[in-house]
Structure formats: structure tokens, C-alpha cells
């Protein structure tokens, strides 16, 4: 059974007369205990997706439709009090910019135990402190970090603090939003390895947002490729990497050096840039940049079709034949 099921999720930003469709009826499942990497370039709607699931999008100017079930509970229509309770206990998040993830004028431990005691008000301050120090140890930080301020830590240490914070209640779903992008390669690898080990130990389901194919390749079982708010391809990471069905996925893979070791193919980048989402192209969303585009691609957006177990792609040309 899927831990998280997203059904027809759409997000539209309104600003004046412009209406930007940042997510376009997205469908996605993550099974319990698995890991999903969501890849796409900046502006593809990755962050909008998490913000929508966590209901952190600003009210008023944003329109959300569709459903997202976590453990059977529908998040988009959930009442505020229930939502507050669910946040962090069932789904936690590690943010992109960990340096700014905590209040600069509060001690790390003070902030963490304050969060801890929101969900567990009955716990004494001393017990909260013990729990926080345990968490810090879990991510290989000395317990004295409790009494430090964010600016006193390095980027890698702050990232570990963010991870410790996210693991506070052993959440079922852990979301990492470009969580290691800002770090140097050595620290990044170290932290990724630690995360993978921790989630096995704690039985956490992980959703990882990144633009780095190599991170997905080394840490995620499944991958979903997002482009301009549309899901283009999804499946087991190894399948998708070895035999990408969508021209965009193919382009993404060709633009990363790691996968070209054997073939010695030159690196290629995808020409053009994301379409203007307030007036998207009439056919396939990727058509203006697609090197294989034909007439049909200019006319209609292809639907997501299944190609084998859990393998989906949205392309008229996928699988060698033209799909209508």
C-alpha cells in the first residue's frame, strides 16, 4: 500500500492577470519504506509540490486542487488543528537552505526543544533536552551544539541539525528539498550515506527533491522526472537511468557526466528554457525544446502511460511507436 498518494494535484499561482500553473494534475505514489527521488531543473515545480503537500503555500494568491493522501488521510482538505498535529509527527522536512532554517537569535537546543514540546507538552524541559541531545548524537553532532547559535556552526553541521530536527518524532515521511546541494561533495556524500543508514534503522519513507541525477542514482529506489509542473516519467531508478523513455529524461542523463563513463559520449545540454507557465504551449509541454518533436507533439499533451511494472512515461514517441 502506498504511504503517500498524490492524485490530480494542481497548483496555480495568481498574480494580477497572470495565472501560472506551477503543477499540472500530478499523480504520484510512494510505498512505505521506499525512497523516491524527484528530479527536474529549477522552476519545474519540485518545491511547489512539497509546499502543497505540507500546506505551506501562501493563502489567497494560490489555488490548489486535487488530493494527497498520507497514510489514508487527505492533506489538502485537512482541518487546521489536525494538520498542525500531523506536521512533523508524520511528515517532516529538511530544507534547502539549512543555514537559514533556524532562527538566528535562538539557541539551537532551545528552538528544538520548543518544537518538541509543542507536540509533547507533557515532557519536562530536562527530558526534552535529553531527547534533543540524543537526536544530535544520532546525526554525529556533539551534544554541546544544544547551546550554540546557528551562526556558530558550519554549513555541514547546520545540515545535520536540520536532519536531527526532522527525525525528532520518527516521521513516516521524510522530505528532503535539495538538502545537500549547498554542501561540498565530500560532506554531501557523507551526509547522504548517514541518511540512508538512518532511514533503514528508523523505517522512514523518503522523498528527495534534487536536480542532481547522481544523488538520485546513489540513494533512491524510485525516480520521478518533473518538468514545468508535469510528471514526464517515473519508475525504478535503475530502469529509468539505463533506458530512459522520455526525451527529456534522456537529455537530463546525457547532461550529467557520471553516466557517460563507459560510452565516452560528450556531455550534452538541453537547449532552450522552461516555457512560460502562464501561457503554456498547446501540445506537449516539452515540445518546444524536444529534438524529436513531431506534429502530434504540437497538437496534444501526451497522457502518462504504463510501460511495464510501475514504469510510466508521458510521451507520444515513447516505446518506439506513436501512442495516441
Amino acid at each position: 500500500m502506498a504511504l503517500l498518494s498524490i492524485r490530480d494535484l494542481s497548483v496555480t499561482y495568481h498574480s494580477g492577470t497572470r495565472h501560472v500553473k506551477a503543477l499540472n494534475s500530478l499523480n504520484l505514489d510512494i510505498n512505505e519504506g521506499e525512497s523516491l527521488g524527484i528530479v527536474g531543473e529549477s522552476g519545474s515545480g519540485k518545491t511547489t509540490l512539497i509546499m502543497a503537500i505540507l500546506r505551506l503555500l501562501p493563502k489567497g494568491s494560490v489555488e490548489i486542487s486535487g488530493e494527497a493522501f498520507l497514510n489514508g488521510k487527505e492533506l489538502i482538505s485537512l482541518k487546521q488543528e489536525e494538520l498542525l498535529k500531523m506536521r512533523w509527527e508524520e511528515m517532516a522536512l529538511v530544507f534547502q537552505k539549512s543555514m537559514n532554517a533556524l532562527s538566528p537569535v535562538h539557541k539551537i537546543g532551545v528552538l528544538m526543544s520548543d518544537i518538541y514540546r509543542i507536540h509533547k507538552p507533557e515532557v519536562s524541559k530536562r527530558d526534552a533536552r535529553r531527547r534533543i541531545e540524543e537526536l544530535l548524537e544520532l546525526v554525529n553532532l556533539p551534544s554541546r551544539v544544544y547551546d550554540l547559535y546557528p551562526h556558530e556552526l558550519s554549513g555541514g553541521m547546520m545540515q545535520r541539525v536540520s536532519i536531527a530536527l526532522s527525525l525528532m518524532f520518527n516521521p513516516k515521511l521524510l522530505i528532503l528539498d535539495e538538502a545537500t546541494t549547498a554542501l561540498d561533495v565530500v560532506t554531501q556524500t557523507q551526509i547522504l550515506e548517514e541518511i540512508v543508514a538512518l532511514e533503514k534503522k528508523l523505517g522512514i519513507t523518503r522523498m528527495m527533491i534534487t536536480h542532481d541525477m547522481s544523488v538520485v542514482a546513489s540513494t533512491c529506489k524510485n525516480v520521478a522526472v518533473l518538468y514545468a509542473g508535469c510528471l514526464l516519467e517515473t519508475g525504478l531508478t535503475q530502469d529509468v537511468l539505463v533506458e530512459p523513455l522520455h526525451p527529456y529524461t534522456q537529455g537530463l542523463i546525457k547532461s550529467f557526466p557520471v553516466f557517460d563513463n563507459d560510452t565516452h559520449q560528450p556531455l550534452q545540454s538541453i537547449g532552450g528554457s522552461l516555457p512560460d507557465l502562464s501561457s503554456p504551449p498547446p501540445g506537449c509541454i516539452f515540445e518546444p525544446r524536444c529534438i524529436k518533436a513531431c506534429d502530434m507533439c504540437r497538437e496534444s499533451m501526451p497522457r502518462l502511460k504504463e510501460y511495464g511494472q510501475g514504469r510510466f512515461a508521458a510521451c507520444h514517441l515513447a516505446g518506439g511507436e506513436i501512442n495516441v
Binding site: 506536521r87 512533523w88 522536512l93 537559514n100 532554517a101 520548543d114
Partner: protein, 323 residues
């Protein structure tokens, strides 16, 4: 105490020293003989001239004179008033408390009201009310405090006859104890209002913009994601972070505060330093004028340092820089 504070205190001392130098230079560069200036143009008294020439060592080189001048000041000797012959220091001390009372009451009130209004508008950004409040803040920012004072007198004292217009206590009523305090407070209402109203716009704007800025910070999103209720996020985290610029402004405002207070004091005949300045100017009492300027400089510098101490206690990043 951190190196940051050490630096600020040093700047404060330097500031006072520069004020001293400016004082000295002004006396010696002003048109005419400094003694003439010190004695007052209208009543040259040979005996006094001789006394002062000796006291300030005017026959000695300028640098020695400066040393003497500073030496006298360090001993607390700011000279003698030409008009009353009293020591300047004694005269000033009597006047300090009323000014401090007026200025600090207004500053604290303005900081509280301005910040509250700023928070109010920050939570309603883009609404009509926010726009109106913004325009009103412009209006008060552009209003000279002395004119506002006069208008308050015109409305509340001369037309409505509800509040006293001048002085600090009612001379006719011989109030004691609580009645006296009440009387002083009644006299404070108009001058404090005039001063507060002109100070509010600064706090309003800084609070509004810093709250808006902090609400957009990443850590606020983190806190929301953890399931912390909005009220708690605001009270404990947004406010705590957004209040820092207000404290900075409170410090920067000190110099302006003393100025604004002085002018308002003159309008309301408040017996403080401000009206004293005018007395000194009209009587051409230069030692007194110099003394007032020095004392004000020192007060502003001390107040600013106090605010800096407070700031560095609230912002851990400050003390960290010096480690």
C-alpha cells in the same frame, strides 16, 4: 563584554572628545576676542577680563590652552555663567532631569506605539488600511515638532481649555506628594504628545518593514512545517527577530530625540535643557551654551552605548563577530 561594545564605547569617547575640540575651536574661531565673547559684548568688565585671561591661560600657546580647558572639564568645571555668575555645571544639573523625563517618556511611548502600529500594518500588507497608515506616517514625519506643539496648544489648551500649556507644575496650586505627580503628568501630556507623534513614524516604518522581512525568512517556513501554531511563531520567533532593527533605531534616534525634545520644550516652556539653550542664546551666555552642548553630547553618547549594550545582549551574532 565583547570587542564590539569596546569599540562602541571608544567611539563614544572619541565623539565626546571631538565635541570638546569643536567647542574649543568655535570659541577661538568666533569673531572677536574669546574673552569678549565669554564676557558678553555688552559689558566689558576689566577685572573679569583679567580673571578669565588667567583662568583660560589666553596668553599661553593654543595647545596649552586646550589642555587647560580639558583639564578643567575633567574636574567638572565648565566655567561660570556670565549672566548669573553661578557655576555652569550646577545650573545644568537642575535642568537635566525634566529633559530626560520628557524625552525618554516620548521615546518609549513612540517606540511602543509605532512598533504596535507597524505590526498591525505588517499583517495587513497591501490593504487600504495599510496604505492609509503609510500616508499618515508621511504626514507626521513631515510635520515640524514645534508647529505640532503649537497646534496642540491651540486645540486643547486655548480652545478646549482642558490641558495646561506651559511649565511643568502649576505654580498657583501648592501640590504635594501624589497631587504633585499628577500635576506634572498633566503638564506632560501635550509636550510628550507633540514629541511622540513626530517620533512614531520612524518606529512604525522600521517595525512594519522588518516584520514583513522576517515573515518571509526560511526559518519561519521551517517553524510552520513543524506544526507550531501561528500565534506562537509570531510571538516567540517573528517578534523576537524583528525587534532588533527597532532597537538600533532607538539608539540612532537619541541625537534626534534630544533636538526634538529641546524644541518642544521651548514651545511649552518646559523647564529643561531646551528652553535653557534659548535663555543662554538670548543672554549671550557662551560658557553656559558650551556647557549645555557638551552635556548633551555626553548624554547622547552614553544613551547610545546603553542601547548598544542592550542590542548586543539580544543579538548573539554581534558578540560572535568579535570572538
Amino acid at each position: 563584554m565583547s570587542r564590539y561594545l569596546g569599540r562602541r564605547i571608544l567611539t563614544g569617547i572619541l565623539c565626546i572628545f571631538v565635541a570638546l575640540c569643536i567647542n574649543f575651536v568655535i570659541i577661538h574661531a568666533a569673531p572677536g576676542n574669546p574673552i569678549r565673547l565669554l564676557v558678553g559684548k555688552d559689558n566689558p568688565n576689566p577685572q573679569m577680563i583679567a580673571e578669565l585671561t588667567e583662568k583660560y591661560g589666553l596668553d599661553q600657546p593654543k595647545i596649552v590652552q586646550f589642555g587647560k580647558y580639558v583639564g578643567n572639564l575633567l574636574k567638572g568645571d565648565m566655567g561660570v555663567s556670565i549672566y548669573t555668575n553661578e557655576p555652569v555645571s550646577d545650573m545644568i544639573i537642575d535642568r537635566l532631569a525634566p529633559t530626560a523625563m520628557l524625552a525618554l517618556t516620548a521615546a518609549v511611548l513612540a517606540a511602543i506605539i509605532g512598533t504596535a502600529l507597524g505590526i498591525f500594518c505588517a499583517r495587513r500588507v497591501g490593504t487600504k488600511l495599510d496604505a492609509i497608515m503609510g500616508s499618515v506616517s508621511y504626514l507626521f514625519d513631515s510635520t515640524p515638532s514645534f508647529w505640532l506643539g503649537l497646534m496642540l496648544i491651540l486645540i486643547f489648551a486655548s480652545t478646549l481649555h482642558v490641558l495646561p500649556t506651559s511649565g511643568m507644575i502649576d505654580m498657583r496650586a501648592d501640590n504635594e506628594g501624589f497631587a504633585k505627580v499628577l500635576d506634572i503628568m498633566k503638564h506632560m501630556i501635550l509636550p510628550v504628545s507633540a514629541l511622540t507623534l513626530t517620533l512614531i513614524p520612524y518606529y512604525f516604518r522600521i517595525a512594519r518593514s522588518s516584520i514583513i522581512q522576517v515573515m518571509g525568512e526560511d526559518f519561519i517556513t521551517t517553524l510552520r512545517a513543524t506544526g507550531m501554531p501561528e500565534k506562537r511563531i509570531f510571538r516567540k520567533y517573528i517578534f523576537r527577530n524583528a525587534i532588533l532593527p527597532t532597537i538600533t533605531v532607538f539608539g540612532i534616534q537619541m541625537a534626534y530625540l534630544v533636538t526634538g525634545s529641546a524644541i518642544v520644550e521651548i514651545v511649552f516652556s518646559w523647564p529643561g535643557m531646551g528652553s535653557f539653550v534659548m535663555t543662554a542664546i538670548t543672554r549671550r551666555d557662551y560658557p553656559l551654551l558650551m556647557g549645555i552642548y557638551l552635556v548633551l553630547s555626553v548624554s547622547v553618547a552614553v544613551m547610545m552605548i546603553v542601547v548598544d549594550v542592550l542590542y548586543s545582549a539580544l543579538d548573539p551574532r554581534i558578540s560572535h563577530e568579535s570572538k
